[in-house]
């Protein structure tokens, strides 16, 4: 269970970002988790709620975009999602694909209310 540490990294980033928005409040953070990232979205949400509760960050919502493993067929170039590398291409039936994505652990965006953005940031 390392979701606690990962949520702490997210909250550290939010605290750092808060300084850019004097008078504003960050009320939502968007995180992208790939299925190969080894991070459980439910555990992450649980830790997030626990770590935000009772802090100056409240109210703060976590929005998780869970990203499947994406691949491209080596034969016909078709883009598809599949849990395994040797899954058959749904278009041409060939096995074998190029990995395109699905291991993300990204801080994607913030949503800020009434925040005047600092110049130059």
């Amino acid at each position: 269970m390392h979701e606690m540490g990962i949520v702490n990294s997210v909250l550290d980033a939010i605290r750092a970002e808060t300084r850019r928005f004097p008078g504003g409040h960050i009320y939502k953070v968007g995180v992208r988790i790939g299925e190969l990232a080894g991070v459980n979205p439910d555990a992450m949400s649980f830790c997030f709620e626990a770590l935000v509760r009772g802090t100056e960050l409240e109210p703060l919502v976590l929005e998780i975009e869970y990203c499947p493993r994406r691949c491209q067929c080596l034969a016909c170039g078709y883009l598809y999602t599949a849990a395994q590398e040797d899954s058959a291409c749904p278009e041409c039936g060939m096995r074998g694909s190029q990995f395109l994505g699905g291991d993300e652990l990204d801080l994607a965006y913030l949503e800020v209310e009434n925040g005047a953005r600092n110049a130059g940031t």
Binding site: L36, A37, D103, L107, Y109
Partner: protein
């Protein structure tokens, strides 16, 4: 209301330290390997067999991570190489900062091969870059052959799968071809060696893999 795009890694602080470690390893031509497995798969035994095979003049060092105890460091220190235990006090993985700190009083110019034994855990260590040249995953035949499918992240990110405890194959219902097939279905190019730390079967293949990696690094270094 305003949406602000960030688009950066959640673990960017860890990644920053890992990148600096990687640069230092490159500068000193150090091959750094990050060994990951479930608890009890035999990482420490594999390191024991590996260290005992080395000439004492080899410039090898080991960092070994555990939640508690110095037991693994004691086991590994017998071979005369520098070994340091990292106790994480509850944390289920090593992170780059722990490695940076552990290396503070070692001279990197005296090291050619740095072996890092991560905390026994197939999930969390896969998220934390330690600046290593390669991740290795150890899977023992007393576990399930479907582990690569259950824990795809680490099998996907590892260059080499070490199938350990193969001396026990006659006594356990482990389908070794299925395990290899499952690993390749998650990571097509994963290399595989089968070993037993008890009978030493497969140790030659494992050491040959290690030699090959070190040779590649030496060649690259001398070409610069």
């Amino acid at each position: 209301m305003e949406r602000v795009t960030l688009e950066r890694k959640v673990l960017s602080e860890n990644d920053r330290i890992a990148a600096s470690l990687r640069a230092r390893f490159a500068q000193h031509n150090i091959l750094c390997l990050n060994l990951i497995s479930s608890p009890g798969s035999g990482k420490t035994s594999l390191l024991e067999r590996t260290l005992e095979s080395f000439d004492r003049r080899e410039r090898v060092a080991v960092l070994t991570g555990d939640i508690q105890t110095e037991n693994d460091a004691k086991r590994l220190a017998r071979f005369g190489f520098p070994v340091k235990q990292i106790t994480t006090s509850g944390t289920c993985h090593l992170d780059a900062r722990m490695i940076e700190k552990a290396l503070l009083d070692w001279r990197l110019e005296d090291i050619d091969l740095l072996l890092i034994e991560n905390v026994g855990n197939l999930v969390c260590p896969s998220s934390y870059d330690l600046g290593e040249g390669a991740k290795l995953v150890v899977l023992s035949v007393t576990e399930g052959e479907d582990k690569p499918l259950k824990y795809p992240s680490i099998f996907f990110k590892s260059e080499l799968l070490i199938l350990n405890k193969i001396d026990l194959l006659p006594y356990v219902p482990f389908d070794i071809s299925a395990a290899e097939e499952n690993s390749r279905s998650v990571h097509r190019d994963i290399e595989i060696v089968r070993v037993s730390c008890q009978t030493r079967q497969g140790m030659t293949e494992w050491l040959a893999w290690l030699d090959r990696k070190r040779e590649i690094l030496r060649t690259a270094a001398s070409a610069v």
